[in-house]
Point group: C2
Chain length 452, copies 2
């Protein structure tokens, strides 16, 4: 298996848009809608503002838009900043098998390059599909220990995705694409230790930027090892104890990772989602008065307890990883969006009081996308619900309308309703859009544009 | 040991130039002379030209000089390009215990920032000393398996050195320096699989640039984990099976890694050096006519055979890792510099013929910096020499005059004798130089400067 990198490169280079089946193409549009919404929701976060303030003085010409913002930067810095914007809310998509958030590193680099090159929408989508395929296949080849050890897999694999997508847009030949993947391999980095700090989203931004650099260097015949992935001292063996190289190249083109991509209805840890579903459904179905709640009993997969069993979160960020906070917010406020994971909501004494009534226990008989919730009310009444497939899971995916609605809520952060609708229209028109750069440009609110 | 990153940060922040002993200060100047010479010798390599051609279109304002070149770029791109220039010849310094080439990643980032900030020479040297101390201590903490597994240690540790040095120049406080080291940790990358390709020097450039980014972000209070080095999912445990965290912080300020730094007299694998010493000495002492040589017998440390036992190199790059080629070039040409590791010299039939007469064998009784060389001439005469300490080893270091001579030869690539002398004077004057940026600016040949 000494030619994994080259075989993967060949597949990317030889792929035609007509090889990609209609459902995969459609999924690519859905991924863009979700990604762009996340970027608009996150683009005013201080993490974005600080990174921009730190790096702007050193940035190049205004080649690419920053999603949702008035500034324009060189494409490399735009790739970095847009990835931070679209990852910061933890609301981006998830390739469930690998836990990679696939669209952010790829689309963030690609959109900057595509705007600069005025690439058409179909070309943009094709490159996106190939980039996501590349990063997810490399992720599938790695054992769970890669992530468990501390590698931030969206970053370590995302750099390959960005390199592949940008390399496709730059029309690299097979040799150049092999080098691009090699230069990506040697930049692979990112520690999960950074979760909970600003550097978490920087990891993804750095991967997006580094992947774009890899493609740009390779386009000029900057050489690397030609076995960057599979060599004894290549990516697969240095960053992991094992690597199933066959999983990277077997059946390329016959299956597509994008069909296994999930979108979050709530901006929090994905194992919490079935609990939120249950709480919202019980609240609405029985018109529950939160003041009457005596006790909330959650029965969930043991992993949910391990990752998100936190009955006393102190910040919005900690709230995103709290089953108890999420259940309380859902029952008290009737919705669970970005606002419910802000510091203010987590500190709200009414939320804290209800949180204190939530108990959670693990049960290996409950699947990761399942939850059993029981609510005891004053006076002895109780309601109970079992959720077999959380909303947003592969068996109960967000519909196109759900995704559009999510987009509109997030876009509201920077755009009025008309602007959001126009931008959504551009996303849906991507397959035939002559210049994909229109999307990034239109994402800046008109008041900004007038100020430019 | 939960505060390694913070203790290291505190040391860097609290250090005063007056704390650094005179021999260490002097060694810092020697390191600069060696590094700058390497950069001038390497700055016209195609690796540099290609990287520059690929990235220039996206670069920022002309804030910093490229060593030996007419272009000026933003400081981040300058850090990258200058590190490639100064590493490409494999002629840079070596911290022998870790095999880190310490000055390139640190000085290349620092010189760009220092020019932009018009930092004084003493401040520049102080930051350089601290950056080198940081990267070498982290390197010492890692077991040999880190490098053996495939991590390019000059890159994985160099990013910390660049962050520490640039953070010192930016006058970060302890909290910010802790974050800078954390952001460095999460960018640590670089595979030895890239050795032999252009991506090898890119690894070091990427580390220099990433370290500078870490310092710039931290200066704006961009947060990271505060235990980026020592946490269970931090650098030390994710990129290595073991890490001796005590080695990073014990005795800080009492010993200095720079005192263990070595400079190469020849631009090739360091284990070859004693053989070259012996061949040059025998040739000069006995006025050997190469045409009379029947046989050359090398007895060396087994590691030298393992790493550099290559009797038929095909390229200049392979020649750098060939005992046989090096011995033949030394005996035939009487000098072993950059030219002798060019493709032309390796392909030269006269060199190849003599190379064929060289045999080498390993002997565990011969130290790594030692060699026994025997030369048999036509007519039965033979000469023999044992080198106990190769020139450039810690027991037989290059003198200041040797380093100046090395600088002049390398600088000749871009500067005339007057220009080289003037630049060397600036290096030696660094401790009192008001603006350290003069060095980078003066490294551009005057014909370039007129053209600007």
């Amino acid at each position: 298996m000494g030619d994994v990198t080259r075989r993967l490169a060949r597949f990317i280079v030889d792929s035609h848009w007509s090889d990609v089946a209609a459902p995969v193409r459609h999924e690519a549009v859905r991924a863009v809608v979700n990604w762009l919404g996340c970027a608009l929701g996150g683009c005013r976060d201080e993490t974005v503002s600080i990174a921009l303030a730190a790096l702007r003085e050193f940035a190049g010409p205004p080649q690419a838009a920053l999603l949702g913002r008035p500034e324009r930067l060189d494409i490399l810095n735009a790739a970095l900043i847009n990835a931070i914007s679209s990852n910061i809310l933890d609301f981006d998509d998830t390739h469930l098998r690998t836990v990679i958030h696939p669209t952010v590193p790829v689309a963030s680099a690609l959109t900057a390059l595509a705007e600069h090159k005025a690439a058409g929408g179909a070309e943009f989508l094709h490159a996106l599909v190939l980039g996501i395929e590349t990063e997810c296949r490399i992720g599938i080849a790695l054992p769970p220990e890669h992530y468990a050890r501390g590698w931030h897999i969206t970053a370590t694999c995302g750099v390959f995705g960005a390199a592949a997508a940008c390399g496709k847009l730059l029309r690299l030949d097979e040799q150049q694409m092999t080098w691009a993947l090699g230069i990506a391999a040697t930049q692979a980095a990112g520690l999960t230790e950074m979760l909970g700090s600003m550097a978490k989203s920087y990891n993804i931004g750095h991967a997006a930027r580094s992947g774009l650099v890899a493609a740009l260097l390779a386009a000029r015949n900057f050489t690397s090892s030609e076995q960057g992935i599979e060599a004894p001292r290549g990516f697969g063996r240095v960053l992991s104890e094992r690597c199933d190289f066959g999983a990277i190249v077997d059946g390329l083109g016959a299956s597509w990772a994008l069909t296994q991509n999930a979108y979050k209805p709530y901006p929090c840890g994905i194992v919490i989602h079935p609990v939120i579903d249950a709480c919202l459904q019980l609240r609405n179905r029985h018109r529950i008065d939160p003041a009457q709640i005596v006790r909330v009993v959650l029965r969930v997969n043991p992993l949910a307890i391990q990752l998100t069993g936190n009955s006393a979160p102190r910040t919005g960020l900690e709230g995103k990883l709290s089953l108890q906070h999420s259940a309380a917010a859902a029952l008290l406020l009737g919705k669970v969006g970005v606002e419910q994971y802000g510091d203010a909501c987590v500190a709200d004494p009414r939320v804290a009081a209800l949180r204190g009534k939530v108990t959670a226990s693990g049960d290996a008989g409950v699947g990761k996308e399942q939850a059993q919730v029981r609510i005891d009310l004053a006076g002895g009444v109780h309601y109970e619900l079992f959720v077999p497939h959380a909303l947003g899971s592969l068996d109960n995916p967000l519909s196109d309308a759900d995704l559009d609605a999510k987009f509109r809520v997030l876009a509201h952060q920077v755009l009025d309703e008309n602007g959001a609708g126009r931008l959504l229209g551009l996303c849906h028109a991507l397959p035939t859009l002559p210049d994909s750069g229109a999307i990034a440009r239109e994402s800046a609110p008109s008041s900004y544009r007038e100020a430019l």
